[in-house]
């Protein structure tokens, strides 16, 4: 936490500067080899999608521990998206296949406890699918906007 006071104030302003309209915050865990490259391609292709996504690059979708997802929701993310290579295309051969098993259970368990299904989403986007990435983002943003600001599971600090 070696941040100067100036930096911290800047960060705070960024977070508190809001118009009246609510903009969901969505955390996206993207695998380095496919989905992140897909996001890159969407950028260089100048495809438009909502600015609500905070991307976290991970080496592989299998690197995403369900704890990360729950923690993001607890810290106030309105939605979490995890995206990796299409099954069969994993840079590490089988990472996303292992991940898929975890994610299936995560998705079902989160729904079961009563977290809205829109909040936790998983997808596959390849490096060449810039368009698919932009569509995915818009889709997730629309889904999260429909259910509104996150309330369940969010930890409020004074």
């Amino acid at each position: 936490m070696e941040v100067s006071k100036a930096k911290s104030i800047h960060a705070k302003e960024l977070l508190t500067a809001q118009n009246d309209e609510w903009h969901p915050k969505i955390v996206a865990f993207l695998c380095n080899w496919c989905s992140y490259a897909g996001a890159d391609l969407a950028g260089v292709s100048r495809l438009q999608y909502g600015p609500n996504v905070r991307i976290i690059r991970v080496p592989c979708s299998a690197r995403v521990n369900p704890q990360y997802i729950v923690k993001a929701l607890q810290n106030g993310a309105d939605g979490v998206l995890v995206s990796g290579c299409h099954p069969g295309d994993c840079h590490y051969i089988s990472g996303n296949l292992v991940a898929r098993r975890k994610f299936a259970l995560t998705k079902m368990l989160m729904e079961f406890v009563g977290v809205e299904p829109e909040r936790v989403q998983f997808s596959w986007v390849s490096a060449s699918e810039g368009g698919r990435f932009a569509d995915l983002m818009n889709r997730v943003i629309a889904d999260v906007k429909r259910v509104g600001p996150a309330k369940r599971l969010v930890k409020h600090l004074p």
């Binding site: 729950v70 923690k71 607890q74 098993r101 079902m108 368990l109 079961f112 406890v113 698919r132 818009n138």
Partner: protein, 368 residues
């Protein structure tokens, strides 16, 4: 308490200890509360008689009855711990331990063997065909209801129950303070996990006690299915109200044979996953992750549910993860020591049902 299983168990434990086949036998002895038998650790020196000086019970104190619900596998990993960094060089050989095991204890032993937390070849498992264990809470609830109908508002029943006995005829007789002796059918007061249990017979035990195991149950997925029919709001309402009682005592984690991590994620400090208080959000996050960590490992023994002093309905959530694992990956942790745990492998299964596909035009929906 004397029954055929108890007599046999005492003899076996005594013999094993005396012959030096084991250093320690873990079973049950009479508890200090009605409806509760408690774990007993019989050491070799106490094989023939109690050792009052060291407080160690003798083999003659061992019992087996319908109150032996605790999953004894929870005690085993401790004995097989390696010193950090000394995996290869173990100074002393692994202790030889005898343990009485019901179906669920046996499943835990298999799971722990698979996860290399116990050395199966230094264990002597005395399997007990399980007739199901009596649920303290059901008996208490029944007594409480009785008190309620007696017209003073209903009260906690723990203090009402003075004594409980099983009869030969499969009945449970409970002596109460206000209503004399109440008699219950075993079946009405068995633990739900026993009623639902699919593996009451401990397969793969080294020695099997005589007796008839109960008829296997159906797994009890129906309650999970019924719960899933509720709306997301209702499910959240239930989850959050249950967890609002949580005092973060960690009894659920500590009672669970599967939770053997030396350092729980909840206690990691370099990266703090959750707060230490009983803030509802922290309690819920803890429980979600705990349940998730049970995926493919939970043996449905309900140790967590029994242990919870605040009576939180944890079994609903562990059952959900058991059901999902079985239905999605066809895996159920039973007695097969070779089967790979579902999250340690992958298959060609079609389980893309939860994937958001922007090319398809449906909105995100529940996975049902």
């Amino acid at each position: 308490m004397s029954n055929a299983q108890t007599t046999e168990l005492r003899q076996i434990a005594k013999r094993l200890l005396e012959e030096g086949k084991i250093d320690l036998f873990i079973g049950f002895q009479e508890g200090t509360l009605p409806l509760r038998s408690r774990p007993a650790f019989v050491s070799a020196e106490a094989a023939t008689a109690d050792s009052p000086a060291t407080g160690s019970p003798g083999a003659g104190s061992l019992i087996w009855d319908s109150f032996c619900a605790t999953n004894l596998a929870v005690y085993l990993p401790k004995y097989y711990e390696n010193q950090p960094g000394r995996r290869k060089k173990r100074e002393k050989p692994y202790p030889k331990i005898g343990v009485a095991a019901k179906g669920c204890d046996m499943r835990s032993i298999v799971a722990l063997t698979k996860e290399r937390q116990v050395q199966r070849d230094s264990l002597v498992v005395v399997g007990v065909p399980c007739r199901g264990m009596i649920d303290t809470r059901k008996v208490e609830a029944a007594v409480a209801a009785k008190r309620g109908s007696a017209g003073d508002g209903g009260s906690a029943a723990a203090e009402e129950i003075l004594e409980a006995r099983e009869t030969e005829a499969g009945k449970l007789e409970v002596t109460t303070r206000s209503f004399g002796v109440l008699t219950f059918d075993r079946e009405e007061v068995l633990q739900d996990c026993c009623l639902e249990c699919r593996y009451p017979m401990p397969e793969g035990a080294d020695i099997l006690l005589p007796g008839q195991a109960r008829k296997p149950g159906d797994g009890g997925y129906a309650r999970v299915e019924r719960f899933m029919e509720k709306s997301s709001e209702q499910r959240w309402e239930y989850f959050s109200s249950e967890l609002s009682r949580c005092i973060r005592c960690n009894a659920c984690r500590q009672a669970c044979p599967t939770c053997w991590c030396k350092e729980c994620f909840a206690e990691q400090t370099d990266l703090k996953w959750i707060g230490v208080g009983n803030t509802p959000s922290d309690a819920m996050v803890f429980q979600i992750i705990r349940v998730f960590h049970q995926a493919g490992r939970c043996v449905e023994c309900d140790a967590c549910y029994r242990a919870c002093p605040m009576h939180i309905d944890l079994r609903l959530y562990t059952k959900k993860i058991v059901k999902d694992v079985e239905e999605t990956f066809g895996y159920l942790p039973a007695f097969d020591a070779e089967a790979l745990p579902p999250l340690a492998t992958f298959g060609d299964e079609q389980c893309d049902f939860f994937i958001t596909d922007p090319d398809k035009n449906e909105a995100a929906e529940g996975t049902g």
